[in-house]
């Protein structure tokens, strides 16, 4: 066991911070206040991700043959921490490099790899994730969107919901049911659908957590070439399972929460309350929660670095991350007081971030179900 960073890792983090200091515009705080899905941030990400790519950093953890440099998952984790804690200047493109690209590497045809991987690693591709449906939230396998084969095309009918970034995306990682008589996990396929396919219609769902967060995607007789299918027909569930195992700890929420907490401590100092025992205890409590989330996430990254199969440790890390996010958000409201009621302030931003933590990427209760059965070995209900 050892918990230190190598000199190279430390140097890399310094280099990244210098890069961010130089590359993020002066009005970045204002620009990023609506989150990675906002118009402004998505536009910014095209330029920014390309600059990361030029440095060789965007997809460094990918194999060389796909435009990476075989860097260790730890280096990518450092990148993710620095990006996420600064408000994710990669915009939606963090998804591409975390799990969409890896899923295409594993299941894609040569043509799909050629079409997508190079583009993703260039930092010039916006994707969205078409999983959830009105009747299929936590119970994703209840999805109903149908893709019926017609020659060398699928005719897709149905709809997706909560789709972040749908308004900007060029492609959708779309889950559909290709076998109309199937139930649950069998009969599902993944389509890499171009968003400009006729029959795809997008409507924004206004949300309190941020502008342009959620969309509904309506699919009406949308014709998608069979060549866009990722992985075997009807066997898409294994593709999703593979993809999601990368996503669960993909966004290092604890890193942003910890940075916010440092700023809250500075605020407490400037208000002259940092010596107050009650304030010290709350800061300490929140800091310990952030640190635990970090340590538990690192445990999962360590497993990945060893190419070990995924375990329920990633669910453990995810729940710990949500606990940390919430503790910091509560403290932000308390310390800033009514100031946080203004949109786009620091306290408001952390609060919105924490609000969705327990639902996005699989709700907390689902994580707890998996911890109970897979980690503790409790019998299924």
């Amino acid at each position: 066991m050892e918990f230190g960073w190598s000199d190279e890792d430390l140097a890399y983090r310094r280099e990244l911070r210098a890069f961010l200091a130089a590359e993020l515009p002066d009005d970045w705080a204002e620009l990023s206040k609506d989150g990675p899905g906002s118009e402004a941030q998505a536009r910014f990400s095209r330029d920014f991700a390309a600059r990361l790519a030029a440095r060789g950093w965007l997809t460094q953890h990918w194999p060389r043959e796909y435009g990476g440099s075989d860097a260790s998952p730890w280096r990518h984790a450092i990148l993710s921490e620095e990006m996420w804690s600064r408000g994710e200047p990669r915009g939606p493109q963090y998804m591409n490099v975390n799990w969409i690209g890896p899923a295409i590497m594993k299941f894609g045809t040569e043509e799909q790899k050629r079409l997508h991987l190079e583009r993703i690693s260039r930092g010039d591709a916006l994707w969205c994730q078409g999983f959830s449906e009105p009747e299929a939230g936590s119970d994703l396998a209840a999805l109903r969107t149908l893709a019926i084969r017609d020659g060398d095309q699928y005719v897709v009918n149905g709809g997706k919901i909560w789709t972040s970034y749908a308004n900007h995306a060029e492609f959708c990682f779309l889950l559909v049911r290709t076998d109309p008589d199937s139930k649950r996990h069998r009969g599902i396929s993944v389509l890499l659908m171009p968003m400009d396919t006729p029959g795809v219609e997008i409507r924004e769902i206004p949300a309190v957590v941020g502008e342009r967060y959620f969309h509904e995607v309506f699919l009406t007789d949308a014709r998608v070439p069979v060549s866009c299918r990722l992985g075997p027909e009807h066997e898409g569930w294994s593709v999703v399972t593979y993809a999601l195992q990368y996503e669960r700890v993909g966004s290092p929420r604890y890193a942003r929460a910890a940075l916010t907490l440092d700023q809250l401590a500075e605020l407490a100092r400037s208000q002259g309350v940092l010596d107050d025992a009650g304030v010290q205890e709350k800061l300490g409590q929140a800091r310990a929660l952030c640190e635990a989330a970090r340590a538990l996430t690192y445990r999962v990254i360590d497993q990945r670095a060893r190419n070990q199969p995924p375990t329920a440790d990633s669910n453990v890390a995810r729940v710990a991350g949500t606990m940390a996010d919430r503790a910091v958000a509560e403290l932000a409201l308390e310390l800033f007081g009514p100031e946080s009621l203004e949109y786009g302030t620091f306290g408001d931003a952390q609060f919105r971030m924490a609000m969705t933590a327990g639902v996005a990427v699989g709700a907390t209760e689902i994580q707890l179900n998996l911890i109970a059965t897979r980690f503790l070995g409790l019998p299924r209900a």
Binding site: A265, L274, Q280, L283, A295, R299, D302, L368
Partner: protein, 307 residues
């Protein structure tokens, strides 16, 4: 970064677990506790096998010592191994005659192992003091919280030098985190195993989701405590890392206590069921060194204030 035990650490852990299987365990803890006894034999066996020397030896360090302390707690060992293996070496730089009890200067309440101690390590503001004590110096206190307790006098003794007080508090926090982690692991394990087989309404209770979620949250807290403890030990028990581990683990201790008892029903209150051996100790650990609030304040001071 490396989250797996290396070969040496694995060997140490296996060896200490083998020793503990023979010389510790819940049944032995119950027998000792019924007479208010201290497990001097266990302490001697661990010391003879070198398990209390880990922190000071060339090949090993605080991390190996913390693994030992956690294992002893997990096995319900009734000996002051946290103080012997982690606190004395880090604070004094040498072994001190055991059993060792830990107290803050002016402490008036009962102290763990206070009545059996040969050395009392006292945390004063800046310095730590090592007080030699004899059996009978301290007043024995009857306690239901799993450890033999004594009321001690914290004056006098040999100063361990400027800065030793801070080292004592940091190592004490690390030891508390390690002991709480081991103790929580056993309390949770006992509860989970019981709820897998205990049936009501025609189902194992452990299959009810309301129960599962509470146990799963405990598992998150125990895992967090475990890794923060290892990391703090690896970092050499710095003030910040130790306070982080203690703030998290001792807050977790209260939660794990509450949930394991509530979910075990009446059997959990009996002496025949092993849960109490571990659960009651969690409360004693939780109150030491100004408790969770004290660890949280220490964390904030070490991270954000320069004073």
């Amino acid at each position: 970064m490396d989250f797996e035990l290396n070969d040496d650490q694995r060997a140490i852990l296996e060896a200490v677990e083998t020793l503990l299987e023979q010389r510790a365990g819940a049944a032995r803890a119950v027998a000792l506790a019924s007479k208010g006894d201290y497990d001097a034999e266990l302490e001697a066996a661990l010391a003879n096998a070198g398990f209390t020397d880990m922190a000071l030896s060339e090949e090993t360090g605080l991390l190996e010592a913390a693994l030992v302390v956690e294992a002893v707690a997990r096995a319900g060992g009734l000996a002051a191994i946290g103080a012997a293996a982690l606190v004395a070496p880090h604070c004094a730089g040498r072994a001190l005659p055991g059993p060792i009890a830990l107290a803050s200067a002016g402490e008036r309440g009962p102290v763990r192992f206070g009545a059996h101690a040969r050395t009392l390590l006292v945390a004063a503001a800046d310095e730590a003091r090592a007080v030699r004590v004899q059996p009978g110096d301290a007043e024995t206190v009857a306690s239901n919280f799993g450890y033999p307790m004594g009321r001690v006098r914290t004056d006098g003794g040999e100063s361990l030098g400027a800065g030793s007080g801070a080292r004592l508090r940091s190592a004490w926090r690390l030891a508390l985190a390690a002991e709480a982690t081991g103790t929580m692991r056993s309390a949770l394990h006992i509860t989970v195993e019981y709820l897998k087989q205990r049936r009501q309404f025609g189902h194992p209770i452990g299959s009810f989701q309301a129960v599962q979620h509470r146990l799963a949250e405990c598992a998150v807290l125990v895992e967090g405590s475990r890794w923060l403890t290892y990391e703090a030990a690896w970092r050499g028990a710095t003030a910040e890392a130790s306070a982080t581990a203690a703030a998290y683990a001792l807050a977790a201790a209260h939660r794990v206590f509450s949930e394991t008892h509530q979910l075990s029903g009446s059997i959990g209150f009996t002496r025949e069921h092993d849960l109490h051996v571990f659960s009651m100790r969690l409360q004693a650990l939780r109150l030491e060194l100004d408790g969770v609030g004290g660890h949280q304040r220490a964390l904030t001071r070490s991270r954000w204030t320069t004073a």
